[in-house]
């Protein structure tokens, strides 16, 4: 398997990586009437909760098994059981999802066994509430892996094979690189072809900004348990993001529903592939407004490409989002100076960059010198302050701007908006040379016709 070069430091400095259980919680938050829980110290939950609250600007339901030192050494099942019982009694969720943490994984926690035990001991709960127990140790993988593992566990635990097929229904496995806004746009595109979509997880209806009538300690909105159970009746699964491959395979194994994988939905040709697939599966013509959106994107590429050619851009994001941004930048003629991911992934193999690295924000800062633009999460604000480079915030977490959940970069329209956003940054910085810029400067040689320009 492809492995990207990995930073070899003992000290990770300004981490880019977030933990697996956080990704697990994110996946569970896209299920309606669900309560996610971390099997660990209450601090594990508190950190994850705060981070998600800051990013989504939403109340986040997330519980903890509240392990202390003694319980950890004795083994965590008792706390796990107590937590599930309490959550069930207090909040009556339809789904309870429990992700392990580093703490419980160090001793080793057999979540399959725990689930079986719990079911036996508490059928009054497990008959009325779906339970998803997942192993997501903090010390392997990262957010994307936790998300993928949890989606797989949801499929394994909840989906049932179906005898019949609903001809206009498709499944969407929406990876963690998609915002609620992206998911909304994707559903919109799918519905334009007369299809209905079961989206797992569906953050667009749970984290887009619901206005509940009353206080609720579980998720409000998202795909329902019933919809998940019925995914076997769909005609096709659209797996969005390389990390949705495993869940898609699990779903296919279990139900026989075939899948198409879309490694990205950003960019003209990427969007073309997706729209073509929808046209094919639905047998419907492409709607007029989508055709217009395609024209507008082509137009935007023509109008905007001037400002992209050979611009140097550094990107640090979770693997699938990284691949999407780098791919788009490449499409537009930029040079990706640095592509940094927090974890290994097959998605990295397709990235073309001067430097491709699994590393942290410190590595990223070093590699970003001389770039025209930096694209990363909000943590990069510290390094761009030092670099003096503009920052476009993308991915998780984006805690110092409004609307992180509503950022849309997928499809023709999302791509066009992204193109204008980045293009305008380049344009604004290209603009208006002053007399002192034009001093006869031998260093200009590096700028024009330097080794990279000629590459």
């Amino acid at each position: 398997m492809f492995k990207a070069h990995q930073s070899n430091k003992a000290a990770t400095i300004n981490p880019l990586k977030m933990s697996q259980p956080l990704g697990g919680a994110l996946a569970l938050l896209g299920i309606d009437n669900c309560l996610p829980c971390f099997h660990g110290s209450q601090g594990c939950t508190a950190f994850g909760l705060v981070l998600m609250v800051r990013h989504f600007r939403e109340a986040i339901p997330l519980q903890t098994t509240a392990m202390d030192q003694v319980q950890t050494i004795l083994g965590g099942y008792d706390n796990l059981e107590a937590a599930v019982l309490t959550m069930y009694e207090r909040n009556k969720p339809e789904v309870i999802g429990v992700c392990t943490t580093g703490l419980t994984e160090t001793k080793g926690e057999d979540m399959r066994g725990a689930l079986a035990t719990f079911r036996k001991r508490h059928p009054e709960v497990s008959d009325n509430c779906h339970l998803v127990f997942v192993n997501t140790p903090d010390f392997t993988g990262g957010l994307e892996d936790g998300f993928a593992n949890t989606v797989t566990a949801i499929i394994d635990g909840m989906v049932t094979p179906s005898e019949m097929t609903v001809s206009n229904r498709v499944n969407v496995l929406a990876g963690s690189h998609l915002t609620p806004g992206d998911v909304e746009e994707i559903r919109d595109l799918i519905e334009g072809f007369g299809l209905t979509a079961v989206i797992l997880p569906d953050l667009s209806t749970s984290l887009g900004g619901r206005q509940p009538d009353d206080f609720k300690a579980t998720t409000l909105g998202g795909v329902t348990a019933k919809e998940i159970q019925g995914m076997g009746a769909s005609v096709l699964t659209l797996a969005l993001g390389e990390h949705m491959r495993k869940p898609a395979e699990a779903l296919e194994r279990k139900t026989g529903v075939p899948f198409l994988l879309f490694d990205r939905l950003v960019g003209l040709e990427a969007a073309d592939r997706f729209i073509k697939a929808l046209a094919d599966v639905s047998g419907q013509p492409v709607p007029a407004r989508v055709r217009r959106q395609r024209e507008h994107l082509v137009d935007g590429m023509l109008d905007g490409h001037f400002y992209f050619s050979r611009k140097r851009v550094a990107v640090a994001l979770e693997p699938d989002l990284l691949a999407a941004y780098c791919g788009f930048l490449q499409d537009m003629g930029c040079e990706v100076t640095a592509a940094v991911a927090p974890t290994q992934s097959p998605a990295l193999e397709k990235i073309k960059a001067w430097s491709l690295l699994v590393g942290d924000h410190e590595d990223f800062e070093t590699l970003s010198h001389g770039s025209d633009l930096v694209i990363s999460n909000s943590h990069a604000r510290q390094s761009v302050d030092r670099l003096g480079t503009p920052l476009v915030r993308a991915g998780f977490p984006t805690f110092d701007r409004l609307g992180a959940g509503h950022r849309v970069v997928v499809g023709y329209r999302g791509t066009r908006d992204l193109l204008f956003e980045l293009g305008n940054i380049f344009l604004a910085n290209d603009h208006e040379h002053a007399s002192h810029d034009w001093k006869h400067d031998p260093k200009m040689e590096d700028h024009h016709g330097g080794p990279h320009a000629a590459a």
Binding site: Q42, R54, A66, V84, T101, D138
Partner: protein, 457 residues
């Protein structure tokens, strides 16, 4: 050893909560037993880091898997006027192999890398649950590293699972007492030297107070820990007076410094006009008691007169508009009473305050101020708050960022009074800023709009 330290903290005689307990209760410790599936709040590691990280020129290295630092760095609003190194997140990011084989060597290597790259005056090394479980001896590694590298390398032994955030605060205090305070001598001392303990300089709000101390002629020997410098904290034992800002968090530092170095301390608040004045007065009086010239008191009183007059004048226009507006205060500790007094000074009515994280003494203060009838909620569940807000029992809620959506989703104004806010509320200028923020939020016309149902409903 950690067990001993935890017990020592539980016995803290300076802690008002402890004093109210029986011997047996005290043994059990401060931390309430958590209910799995119905708990909230940070862990001891979180508390330790909150207390120490504002020491801005030190490196803060978290020894643990990615969750501990990766999910939490860069999330607090403590400001520094000098080094920004404290904002850099350092962690050993333990892998599965590290968990299997132990990570002491990796930890040493990480410390060495940091010292070579950043040359900080000291490195704080935070133990967390996973390496504690596998038996990594952080204290030994730190000692070894300190010897090898010729720098203070300070173990902070407060893994998350030993208890609450509050316990972590205290363990951080013990760390400073054991490893930092008293390890250096100041170049000069003056009769006006004080330490400020337990102020984290959130939103840079201490900079609203410092100019007044400058004007008084008071010198801050060390800040523990907001806007703090490691080497200044190391000289803290030479101060004449300690001011303790948050009554519970770092009480052990103040008390033990009194014990060890004979430095008297008082608890004060920077919130609200009269509390602010009391604080300045206390500083002046205690310094004079410890030998400072008496004209300090005259000078201080003049400053107080001028500042109070200015503050009341600036508060006047708001008072009228805010008269009778009802505030629900959902915070803890010193803010549970200091904010009450500050807000009532501006004409607001406080319908109640949460006292979950408040000490017995805090609660006594509230009772004295407000009488027995006043609402003090020990445990206020989100659903209860939501109900109160929907029933229009309050016009505005003041709390921390995590609970904001209880108010906002109920379409009730809310103001951040905790660590994520971007406005400083300390000092005379701060109280005006606080009241202005409340006025701005209450006066915002969105409330009518967002409360209206969609016209098709």
């Amino acid at each position: 050893m950690l067990v001993d330290k935890v017990q020592e903290v539980f016995n803290e005689p300076g802690c008002a909560t402890n004093l109210g307990k029986s011997e047996k209760e005290r043994k059990k410790g401060c931390t309430k037993a958590l209910k799995p599936g119905a708990a909230a709040g940070g862990c001891a590691f979180d508390g330790a880091k909150i207390a120490l990280q504002p020491i801005a020129d030190a490196a803060h290295l978290v020894h643990g898997p990615i969750a501990c630092e990766g999910n939490s760095w860069d999330n607090r609003g403590s400001k520094s006027s000098h080094s920004q190194l404290y904002r850099t997140g350092f962690t050993t990011d333990l892998s599965e192999l590290d968990v299997i084989h132990g990570a002491e060597k990796k930890l040493f290597k990480a410390i060495k890398e940091i010292v070579l790259k950043y040359d900080p005056p000291a490195v704080f090394v935070y133990q967390t649950c996973v390496p504690a479980l596998i038996g990594d001896d952080v204290e030994a590694v730190c000692k070894f590293a300190a010897d090898k590298l010729g720098k203070p390398i300070i173990p902070v032994n407060a893994p998350g699972f030993v208890g609450s955030k509050n316990l972590g605060n205290k363990l951080a205090g013990e760390t400073l007492l054991d490893h930092v305070i008293g390890t250096r001598e100041p170049e000069v001392t003056t009769p006006y030297d004080i330490n400020i303990i337990g102020e984290y300089n959130l939103a840079g709000e201490f900079w609203l107070v410092k100019p007044l101390l400058d004007k008084m002629g008071v010198r801050i020997l060390s800040m523990i820990s907001g806007d703090g410098k490691y080497n200044e904290v190391a000289t803290a034992h030479r101060a004449k007076v300690n001011m303790l800002v948050c009554s519970q968090a770092l009480i052990n530092i103040a008390r033990k410094m009194e014990e060890r170095y004979g430095i008297p301390y008082f608890e004060g608040s920077f919130y609200g006009v009269s509390d602010m004045s009391d604080t300045l007065r206390n500083i002046a009086n205690l310094l004079v008691e410890r030998g400072a010239p008496t004209d300090l008191i005259t000078r201080t009183e003049a400053i107080i007169r001028e500042e109070e007059a200015r503050a009341w004048r600036r508060l006047a226009p708001y008072k009228e508009r805010l008269a009778g507006k009802r505030v629900l205060l959902f915070t803890g500790g010193v803010k549970s009473w200091s904010m009450v007094s500050a807000l009532e000074g501006a004409g607001l009515e406080i319908i109640g305050t949460s006292v979950k994280k408040s000490t017995k003494e805090d609660k006594e203060r509230i009772k004295k101020m407000k009488g027995e009838e006043f609402h003090m909620w020990e445990e206020l569940k989100p659903s209860d708050i939501a109900r109160m807000l929907r029933d229009s029992e309050a016009d505005i809620m003041l709390s921390g960022g995590r609970s904001q959506f209880i108010a906002l989703k109920a379409k009730v104004p809310w103001l951040d009074v905790n660590q994520e806010r971007h406005v400083g509320f300390a000092g005379y200028d701060g109280i005006v800023a606080l009241v202005e923020e409340i006025d701005k939020t209450l006066g915002n016309p969105i409330w009518r709009q967002v409360r209206s149902a969609a016209p098709w409903e």
